[in-house]
Structures are given as structure tokens and as C-alpha cells.
């Protein structure tokens, strides 16, 4: 059977990795290529790169980073950030990405999901959803969590699956950056609603959080950023603990 995946996520701005707390207050962390290589060697199952630059110059730096990563890291690479049309898919796939994650671009034009799935295959299209509780309802936010779309998250994710998304990254804004654990109730609702892999994001702070995640809800992967960047959790140790807890992981 499939192993549960551990996925470090690198937010890249102007060619450098950054990580914010609740999406604001970015702090520079490290060189993405060096960090990616370290993760790959220590057992990361996949890497996610989010390009959080808006400028054309930043895009070029990002493309360069991605190419350098893809030349020496031989695990799946997912890329997101600023993906608004099929040209953006081509742009990052040509730099060596395997999957492309769409978020605000798909909210602006939901046909992007089906058009991309038709052209590049379902496996290539990842829907990334930033979700927050608003008046007790799971609601989708756009633009890096800054804009309330008013959309119901479960409906949106089911729509994405029907349109051909091959995977969901569910990022809980309520738990993101706080390191208090994953948003198990939110994840459980999403996992029950779809039949495609779900990647849990937002809230990873300790090894126990990952153990609780995989023991509580049938997600396929857990994603973390700063806990890995600052070496608070070593991926090798995390996998050893998961294995001990009966979770199947790639050794």
C-alpha cells in the first residue's frame, strides 16, 4: 500500500525561502536549492514550492531556482503561486515541475482546473485551498488568505474534483503558522467529501502533530514549512516516530 507522504513546503520570494506566521511578517530563511537538497537527502517524499513574488523579475528568479532544484532533486516537485492560466502551467512544467497547484487563479476562473486537467492530465493539477471558519462555515479565501470569497469550501473542493483536480492541498488558515497541530475536524470533512488524495497543511509544530494527523484522519500527506526549515523537526526522526506509531512511511 501507499506510504503516507511528508512534504516540506518552501515559500519562495525573489529566489529565497521565506515563511510567515498567519501569512504576514515574512522572514528570510534560506537558499531554496540548498534546502531542497537537504530535504531530499533526509527523506522528504515530495517538495512544494510556492512562488509568492508578484513581479516579473521575481518570476524569472523563481524559474531559475526551480530549474536548479529539478536538476539535482529526484523526487516529485509541485509548484504553485501566480498560476492563472495554461501558459503558467507550461512555464513551470518546463522548469521541471511535476504538478502545478492552483488557488486564486482557479477561484477567478474555475474552468482553469478542467482545461489544465485535459491538457496535462489529472495527476498534474493540484487544487490548493486556503480555508477558514467564518460564522461556523468552512469558507474559501483567495490571495494568500487575505480575501474572503464567500464560497463554501466543501462545495468548492468537490467542484475541483469533478473538474479533474488530482489532489487537494487543504490549508487551514485557522491553524496555519500557529504550530498547535493540524486542523483535524476540517480535514475530516474534506476527506469524507472527495476520493482524491488530500494533503494536510497548516499547524504542524511537532512530531506528535503528524502522528495525531495520520492516526485521526485518512489524509495522504502532511505538509510543513518552518518546522522543517528551522530543524525543529528532522524528517528522519519524524519518519522513525511515525513508523513506530504504525504509520506506513517510506524509509
Amino acid at each position: 500500500m501507499l506510504a503516507k507522504r511528508i512534504i516540506p513546503c518552501l515559500d519562495v520570494k525573489d529566489g529565497r525561502v521565506v515563511k510567515g506566521k498567519n501569512f504576514t511578517g515574512l522572514a528570510d530563511v534560506a537558499d531554496p536549492v540548498a534546502l531542497a537538497a537537504r530535504y531530499s537527502e533526509s527523506g522528504a517524499d515530495e517538495l512544494v514550492f510556492y512562488d509568492i513574488t508578484a513581479s516579473a523579475e521575481g518570476r524569472k528568479l523563481f524559474a531559475d531556482v526551480l530549474k536548479r532544484v529539478a536538476e539535482r532533486i529526484f523526487i516529485p516537485l509541485t509548484v504553485g503561486g501566480g498560476v492563472n492560466d495554461l501558459d503558467d502551467f507550461a512555464r513551470v512544467l518546463n522548469c521541471g515541475a511535476d504538478k502545478v497547484s492552483v488557488n486564486t487563479g482557479a477561484l477567478k476562473d474555475p474552468t482553469l482546473i478542467s482545461r489544465a486537467a485535459k491538457k496535462y492530465g489529472d495527476q498534474c493539477v493540484v487544487l490548493s485551498a486556503d480555508v477558514k471558519r467564518v460564522d461556523g462555515r468552512f469558507t474559501v479565501f483567495a490571495k494568500g488568505g487575505r480575501e474572503n470569497t464567500g464560497r463554501d469550501a466543501i462545495e468548492w473542493i468537490k467542484f475541483a474534483e469533478r473538474s479533474g483536480a488530482g489532489e487537494i492541498v487543504l490549508n487551514s488558515i485557522d491553524t496555519d503558522g500557529v504550530k498547535g497541530g493540524f486542523d483535524i475536524p476540517m480535514l475530516a470533512e474534506v476527506v469524507a467529501a472527495v476520493n482524491i488524495p488530500v494533503i494536510a497543511s497548516g499547524g504542524a509544530g511537532s512530531v506528535k502533530h503528524f502522528v495525531d494527523l495520520f492516526n485521526s484522519v485518512n489524509v495522504d500527506a502532511g505538509l510543513g514549512a518552518s518546522v522543517f526549515h528551522y530543524d525543529q523537526i528532522k524528517i528522519k526522526d519524524l519518519k522513525a516516530e511515525l513508523s513506530k506509531a504504525g504509520v506506513r512511511v517510506r524509509s
Binding site: 501507499l2 507522504r5 488524495p197 524509509s251
Partner: protein, 206 residues
Amino acid sequence: MICIVDYGVGNLFSLKSSLAFLGKNAEVTSDPVRLKKAQRIILPGVGAFGDAIQKLSGANRFGANLKSAVMECAKGGTPLLGVCLGMQMLFERSFEYGEHGGLGLLKGEVRPLSESARGLKIPHMGWNSLSFPVKNDLFKYVSEGEFVYFVHSYHAVDCADSVIATCFYGGDITAASAKDNVFGTQFHPEKSGDTGLRILKAFCEV
């Protein structure tokens, strides 16, 4: 020289990079003349079977069809490695959106995974571990139980004679096949970390 067949589908960057990482010079080409000079050939592939086999069979910008060049090389003894959809194309036929003829270099056919992996998520996407029903040089640097990366919704069946590796997903799935100089991996060695690199290294030595 290793040639990676470029017939207009898929991302060949990772295959070329992983071979370069191993110190092997690989050429991405759609020129049949280059293919016929190759010491080894890799047939990659992502997307749908019908579309891919059609592109491989059609006249390309060199005015020749790559399918006959690949067939000629394979029959002449050049080691050939099909990856993912490239592996599926080595079989006799596929039932992905209709029925399509394959290269027929390996016995067997390609069927939807949903027929056997009922109740499981499709595509079969992620890391799964290998078992080896027989010994094959392609896996001489890999141990039973090592994980490799899969992304597929169809799989090869009725190919018992050529199966050299399986993985478990609702049942045993063909993870790799081989007959003489023709090899195929359903998984992506170029995305399977260190294990994948060792498989590519072994292919460079067969």
C-alpha cells in the same frame, strides 16, 4: 549515448537530469537516425495512451515515424526502457478510452486500475514498495521493499511471463516488466529518489 525519445508528450527534463546526475550523457531526440545509433533508448510518457501512440506513430518533423524506429532498435537488441505510459505502450493493447494497439514488444494488455483496486483512490499516486517475483538485472542495486514513486490509473495485466516487480494496491500490480533487452517500469525512476537513480544506473549497465 542514451536517447530519450521525444514524441511531443511529457516532461523529459527530469529523466535527462537524473541521467546527467549519474554522469550519463543523454540526448532528447525525435530524430530516428539518432535513435538507431543509440546504445540505449528510454521511452517516456505521460497522458493518455491513444494520444501518445498516435503521436509516436505519426510522421514527425523528420518525416519519419518514431514507432518503427523504436521497434527496429528493440528488435535489433538495443536496451529499451519504457517509463510509466512508455512502459504501457510496450504491451499489445490498451483499454484507456477505447481500444488502442501498442507496440507488442511485451505480451499483455493495459486495463483500468479501477477494475482491481476497488474502493481505493485512483490514480494510484505516491510511494509504494517493490517485490521481486524473479531476479532481474534492472534491480541489481535495489532491495525488496524499497519505495518508488507511482502515478497511474491503468496497469498492465495478463503479462505474467514478463513481470519482474510488483507492488500491492488492492492486489498485486505490475510495477515492472522485462523480456530480453526490453524493460518497462510503471513507476517513475527519475522521481524515485536514490532508489530510482540506482535503477537507472542498472539500466545503463544492462
